[in-house]
């Protein structure tokens, strides 16, 4: 295994973008869970709890950047999430809870889980500890969306499929965009994709999709 020099300019340059992405990702997750209270008022307390966790994650990842004396490129991160955020905001405006949950509680959480799992073994010691703590929470966030969609599966199945078609291609584009920086941090695209697809497929299976449906959905939009 190659030894990673966390202080070298190339690493820190890549880190300024990846670190910004996770900080922005956690911020948007926080905002999204708060926004979801509009559509799920009876789950407001739980959503606020999830949002609070995301806020804590954001602070943790901000500390990771400071620890390496890296300034996160927040503008880059906002651009990175722009299309996905737009889809979430549109769905929220239309009262489309299913799409909101698919974007935030399935796709984003599955991606975060995959990325954090791949990152932990190659992270600097400070960031490793923070990320390990974050990861445990993200599994809870995933199960929030998973459980709601499972409980309402019969009514929302087609909407989940539509949200998947709309948003999964964005995930592949986002992944392409970070491939080089992630590699600098020791994270291979193939591993990120494999772990995302495995986690996402498993989640779709738990919600109620058949193997055949999952195979088609999880590969949707891949070139």
């Amino acid at each position: 295994m190659t030894v990673i020099n966390y202080q070298c300019p190339t690493y820190r340059d890549a880190y300024s973008r990846i670190n910004a992405i996770v900080i922005e990702g956690e911020q948007e997750a926080h905002d999204n869970y708060i926004a979801l209270t509009q559509l799920l008022p009876d789950r407001s307390e739980e959503l606020h709890r999830l949002a609070k966790m995301e806020e804590r994650h954001k602070k943790g990842f901000t500390a990771c950047g400071k620890n390496l004396e890296v300034t996160p490129d927040m503008e880059y991160a906002r651009q990175f999430f722009a299309a996905l955020k737009q889809n979430f905001d549109d769905a929220l405006r239309q009262g489309n809870l299913v799409t909101c949950l698919v974007i935030q509680a399935l796709i984003v959480e599955c991606f975060a889980i995959a990325a954090y799992n791949i990152y932990i073994p190659v992270a600097d010691p400070f960031a490793r500890k923070i990320t390990e703590g974050v990861l445990k929470d993200e599994y809870l966030h995933l199960s929030f969306g998973e459980e709601w969609l499972k409980a309402n599966f019969a009514q929302v199945k087609q909407d989940i499929e539509a949200a998947n078609r709309q948003n999964l291609p964005l995930v592949w584009q986002m992944l392409n965009q970070v491939t080089a920086d992630a590699r600098t941090l020791g994270m291979e695209r193939e591993e990120l994709m494999a772990d995302f697809m495995t986690q996402y497929s498993e989640t779709l299976g738990n919600i109620g999709f058949t193997s055949r449906e999952i195979m088609k959905m999880a590969a949707y939009g891949l070139a």
């Binding site: 889980i113 193939e190 996402y200 498993e202 193997s211 055949r212 999952i214 891949l222």
Partner: protein, 338 residues
């Protein structure tokens, strides 16, 4: 519930099967895609024993392809096996056989050290390599094949290629104690292991494959090679019997010469039909009744409720365990294909 972790024999095979099963988007993808594709349960299986007992199981496609080994994509290969095992475990499967290359990858890449990954802790007692049953069946194929094709074992020279592997070493132990064979030839790549095996057996000649084949009445091929076995028919003794325990099994089609018989090694036939769709893709011989002995081992363990990693580790297969699994094999209606 039992499980089988399997995979297809090549990228071309995988693309063909994907197309036949209606996954056009998978059929068009290259190896990179198969490297990231997650495991899936693609079939439910029902098996009835001749004792009358019926069990159900699931087939887990790992999406591993042998090209991953040829192209040294070892991370992908190990990920495939671990993910497929995790998938089986999460679906509550009690005992799952690691078919094809899965058990070889598990052993060679030391996956015992990697059982804890993501939020998963693999419970090894839920898995079996199936190698004890495979070794037993191959030994029976040697004996029954010799009888069928008029080879007198007492005068026969038997070569085991891949002698130091888990299955190969078990076959050598059986043949040297239980069969009246005249000569045993041991072929493998690792000379140190070969010598250790010879010492433990107290018999057997160590040779290269080129030296061994021209003098062998029976050849047992259990070496693991990602492309299957390639040997020239010209150097084979005539008559002789080849037992092809490799995967994919390509000897029956590549070696078509008079006086050389080929048996699909490590394959069993069940007395009753097995209800499964997937097997016609995984093996193309006689889908409804024939299957890999390693798969059948998980069925045997399920029939008996033995939820334990019966076959595990390297070179742990004893004659007693072969007797045990052999008795179950006969009890539930499996027999070696000859």
């Amino acid at each position: 519930m039992f499980g089988l972790i399997g995979h297809l024999t090549s990228l071309a095979h995988a693309q063909e099967v994907a197309r036949e099963l209606g996954y056009e988007e998978y059929a068009q993808k290259d190896l990179d895609f198969w490297c990231v594709a997650p495991p899936q349960i693609v079939a439910d299986i029902t098996v009835k024993s001749i004792t009358g007992k019926t069990i159900v199981g699931k087939y887990v496609e790992s999406c591993f392809l042998p090209e991953m080994l040829l192209l040294k994509k070892f991370k992908a290969a190990t990920r495939k096996v671990l993910n497929a095992m995790a998938h089986a475990q999460k679906h509550g499967i009690n005992i799952t056989a690691l078919g094809g290359f899965s058990s070889i990858i598990f052993e060679n890449f030391n996956l015992m050290e990697m059982l804890h990954f993501r939020n998963i802790k693999l419970e090894v007692e839920r898995f079996t390599t199936g190698n004890t049953h495979t070794a037993y069946i191959i030994c029976r194929q040697v004996e029954e094949g010799a009888q069928k094709y008029g080879i007198d074992l007492a005068k026969a020279t038997v070569t085991v290629c891949g002698a130091t592997g888990d299955i190969g070493s078990a076959v050598c132990r059986w043949l040297s104690v239980r069969s009246p064979i005249q000569e045993l030839i041991l072929v493998a790549r690792n000379q140190e292991r070969l010598q250790a095996l010879r010492d433990s057996l107290g018999r057997g000649k160590i040779m290269t494959i080129e030296e061994a084949l021209p003098q062998s009445d029976i050849v047992v091929w259990v070496a693991s090679m990602a492309k299957g076995m390639e040997i020239s028919p010209a150097i084979l003794k005539k008559p002789s019997l080849l037992i092809d325990g490799g995967y994919p099994k390509n000897l029956a089609t590549t070696i078509q010469v008079p006086d050389v018989q080929v048996i699909n090694g490590g394959m069993v036939e069940h007395a009753l039909d097995v209800d499964w769709q997937i097997m016609k893709w995984v093996n193309r011989y006689a889908p409804s009744r024939q299957l890999f002995a390693c798969f059948a081992e998980s069925m045997l363990l399920e029939f008996e409720g033995w939820y334990t990693n019966f076959s595990w580790g390297r070179n742990q297969i004893t004659l007693e365990k072969m007797d045990q699994i052999g008795a179950l094999s006969r009890k539930h209606g499996f027999r070696p294909i000859v």
